[in-house]
Symmetry: C2
């Protein structure tokens, strides 16, 4: 998995640089006090991407007792590796995307987790369907049961309980896949390999579109909900903070500029209403 | 306590409107599904205050099992009332402030909690000392032991563990004060009554000062740390989200515009270095 995520990081960064057309990823290696480290690739101030991070981590050591208890393992020893990316485009016409594929190992068991989800700021059914279709195809190559299951898991996971709404229009999400690790690794690679195809065509279609001030404002407000989800609920973020991971890599997921208004109206027009309805009531895209 | 916090809300809002000189607080009452409600007073787009909320809540009902367990009570019934305010000024020259005074009651016990803390973006020892001095005097009127104890509690509470730094330069903080409720209520009123005197003179001294672009940027980045604290650690926020409180009143505390940069340099000059050192290593101000 370590070789795979490193190669995937290279492939994804190349594709994104090509799509951005101006900025380059900067690489920053970091060491973790408790063992291991990682490599963050960050692009800021791009033509398309305002803040993009594609990180690889390969860490090991001892789990905090609280997390060990939650995992139900007899040991605190762990090894974990994965790729995690969050891309925040400048334009509200281009959706934010997140993907993460990871492998976790303890002396008594090992499992894979991961997924990808899209957070759009304007309505574009073609793009939403494309993102889901590409991930469905990646799942289908392994088993036809996977997409429906992990699509539903994704809707459940990326849920801002206090808002009663999803973070975006979903994708796929799975965790604790500990059976038949070879087969599962194959599945994880299918998903990871599908990322560029699932997202870059959407960027290409939307990156040169013009937008209104209100569309920009809506993006800044929706980014606030993104922050709420990541800091209040996201397991990966909380795990990272609790295990003293690399703070900057963990919080790289937060959008660069965010608005938090009091009682913000998120349904000022038909487009916002349609989009908000999809966040409140996740639907099928295929 | 209900009458007290309502009166205090009026007094504070009047003082802040006078200091702002342009905007007015708008009142918004809300009901809580599980019982009770509250009144939010919000001022946005002021001359001095970009986003200010002074809220009163009077709620009752049943606690979620998780919180009951934490409180160690034999009952899920609760009644709670309090005033909570967060003021985010436009200018980085004017510090952000938070204060909260609350009373909590269950069938088998009752307690008070509260405090006030200052989050500055520029160095102003005179102001930091003033804020602490006024709160010390309020504490001292009740017992000389209180300020040192609650100043230390405040430094401990408003702590971003993952950053290894405080949210600001502290103030006072106390919780679960369940002994001698009459005397404690008197103490809480001393603190609440001191709020205007602790903060408004600082606003008056700083509100017309000019600032640099970098000072504004530093404010936007420090506001990011404010968001991190409130969403990851703040008991009041998490309690509110878990008990299905009024979301907009709870998250009113989040700053209106925030920046999250990757590996932001928070020590680009001597002033930032001095301020950051105080966040990392809380010190005595008196």
């Amino acid at each position: 998995m370590v070789d795979y995520v490193r190669d995937l990081q290279n492939r994804i960064c190349l594709a994104l640089e090509k799509s951005d057309g101006r900025a380059r990823f900067e690489s920053k290696s970091w060491q973790r006090d408790g063992g291991g480290g990682g490599e963050s690739r960050i692009l800021e101030g791009g033509k398309v991407f305002e803040k993009a991070g594609v990180n690889v981590s390969v860490v090991h050591g001892q789990l905090p007792a609280m997390i060990q208890k939650k995992f139900g393992s007899s040991s605190t020893e762990f090894f974990a590796t994965g790729l995690s990316l969050v891309l925040h485009p400048v334009s509200p016409m281009v959706p934010t995307v997140h993907a993460n594929y990871r492998y976790f190992e303890q002396p008594d068991r090992a499992w894979f987790g991961g997924g990808a989800d899209l957070t759009p700021y304007v309505w574009s059914e073609e793009d939403f369907r494309h993102f889901h279709r590409v991930h469905k195809e990646a799942c289908d190559r392994n088993s036809l049961e996977l997409y429906p299951r992990y699509k539903a898991e994704c809707d459940k996971y990326f849920w801002n309980e206090h808002r009663g709404e999803a973070r975006g229009i979903g994708g796929i999400f799975f965790d604790y896949l500990s059976e038949d690790l070879d087969k599962t690794f194959h599945f994880v690679r299918s998903c990871g390999d599908a990322f560029v195809e699932s997202y870059v065509p959407i960027v290409e279609r939307s990156k040169n579109k013009t937008h209104t001030d209100r569309q920009k404002k809506f993006q800044l407000l929706r980014r606030g909900r993104y922050v709420e989800f990541n800091l209040v609920y996201d397991r990966g973020t909380l795990f990272g903070l609790q295990t003293k991971g690399n703070i900057e890599s963990i919080l790289m997921s937060l959008p660069p500029v965010v608005n938090f208004d009091y009682c913000a109206d998120m349904e000022t027009n038909e487009e916002e209403k349609t989009l908000t309805a999809c966040f409140r009531q996740p639907r099928s895209w295929l």
